[in-house]
Symmetry: C2
DNA sequence: ATTTACAATTTGAGTATACATATTGGCGAC
DNA sequence: GTCGCCAATATGTATACTCAAATTGTAAAT
């Protein structure tokens, strides 16, 4: 089944056509479209249907709509990269390798200052006791990702009963805390010491470091530091040029 | 003005409420919502209005809808990081530093095999002549990003007349080619040789390497390699847990 | 000539209605 | 009991109205 085909309804067809026209610059940035009612007539549909098309198009950022003024192809653009962060296990198995998680240590205690610094924790929000754990993700018995993590047991109380030797922390948390948001910082670092040893890399090898802070409502759920060998690993992101949609302030 | 408030219409209000209910797990994953008509009655709106809410919610991935079956809070989720890639100049100036672009060389010629390898160009799509250029982005006269780039003059013919000593290539291309898409690969590498010298880093220092391929329709526009000093630079990405929206296969 | 006020226009939101489509659960045939 | 068909049901799409809100251009007043 060609999933790309889609349902092929009126508004889908017109939407596709308009998007194409904008992407192909047949309608250049700044171009004013005909008004809803006219377009509806031209395409032989009702205004409501054309409205659905234009509303959708505006939501995707292709056009900007203003009352009394009209509908215009967007000019102000920004680029946004979307990278799906899949489960490491899936990722590894997609490469035809076998995945394995090895827990080094997990304890409930007050975190050390050095650990908090490593995880990029800001000064204020440190509760008393957290789960501090470390471990390694393997692909075919090759080190793939070194993980250091702190989990807020106040927010995820049932994490106390989980055996993180068998349950991969990231995966368990994702399942357990749906609809959370996270903030990532990606850097390149030179590894050294025990980290280099654990990753089976020479001292000074470049690694990709991801510091992730996961938030649920107003509380932090977990801080994680993921260290990937630079050579073996590569993040990919899909770009899309997109207009600064949102509710843009009047008088823009 | 509190911009967060919004227009406060029926469907906006209900949409907000439903999203909150799902995020707060009042409606847990897998929970079946009442049917459109019932919900419409409960909230005192017409079915069309409630339909708008639920359609939107489905599009955002919070719920899955199936005919005859009903509307369910999504279970299958994935994480997607969205990172806005702003103009480097803006980025630098946001830090209160002065931005400067220094072109090393720009020539129209057949690219060398080593250059293509460096830029991550796949085997087939190499046209005869391209613009090959290199340069450095500075923040307060400190090296900030080393750029190597190939531009397809067949797709962007007026790039021949541009002086890339004064026009920053990435910015010019973004302005010139709206609605293009790009694919990024992010790695950590150890710098060496002239690259280390240009970036004023010791040999072996960890750097963030971004390989970017920009596409317009079926043709590639540009290949770029951006090298950031690991210490000084950090990519940040905002996460959102999101359901695998799209048309998911039946029997999920 | 500049400001103010009003009216026309265009999008935004909502309702009632109709018909299409897919899926499920039950009923009947074997 | 099992299999297959059919009808009931929930969503999907579309239409034709109606009223609201915002903005802009024009016309009137100072």
């Amino acid at each position: 089944m060609a999933r790309t085909a889609g349902p092929e309804t009126h508004h889908t067809r017109i939407l596709e056509e308009f998007r194409q026209k904008i992407v192909d610059r047949i309608w250049e940035p700044g171009f004013q479209l005909d008004k809803e009612t006219d377009l509806a007539n031209q395409y032989g549909v009702s205004r409501m249907t054309m409205n659905k098309v234009l509303t959708q198009l505006a939501q995707e950022g292709y056009v900007v709509r203003r009352k009394r003024s009209g509908t215009f192809v967007s000019k102000a653009r920004t680029q946004a990269a979307v990278m799906p962060i899949n489960n490491l296990a899936d990722e590894v198995e997609a490469l035809g390798k076998t995945y394995r998680w090895q827990l080094f240590a997990a304890e409930i205690r007050v975190p050390q200052a050095a650990e908090l610094r490593l995880l990029g924790v800001e000064s204020p929000p440190i509760p008393g006791e957290v789960i501090v754990l470390g471990g390694m993700h393997y692909a075919d018995d090759e080190p793939f990702c070194l993980e250091t993590r702190a989990i807020n047991v106040d927010v995820v109380p049932n994490a106390r009963e989980v055996d993180f030797a068998t349950h991969v922390p990231g995966h368990w948390l994702l399942q357990s805390m749906p609809w959370s948001t996270a903030r990532n910082a990606i850097r390149a670092v030179n590894v050294a010491g025990s980290e280099a040893r654990n990753l089976e890399l020479p001292v000074g090898a470049a690694c990709l470091e991801i510091l992730r802070k996961t938030v649920m409502g107003s509380d932090w759920v977990t801080y994680a530091r993921l260290l990937y060998p630079g050579e073996a690993f590569q993040l990919t992101a899909e770009f899309k040029t997109k207009a600064t949609a949102k509710t843009l302030s009047p008088q823009a």
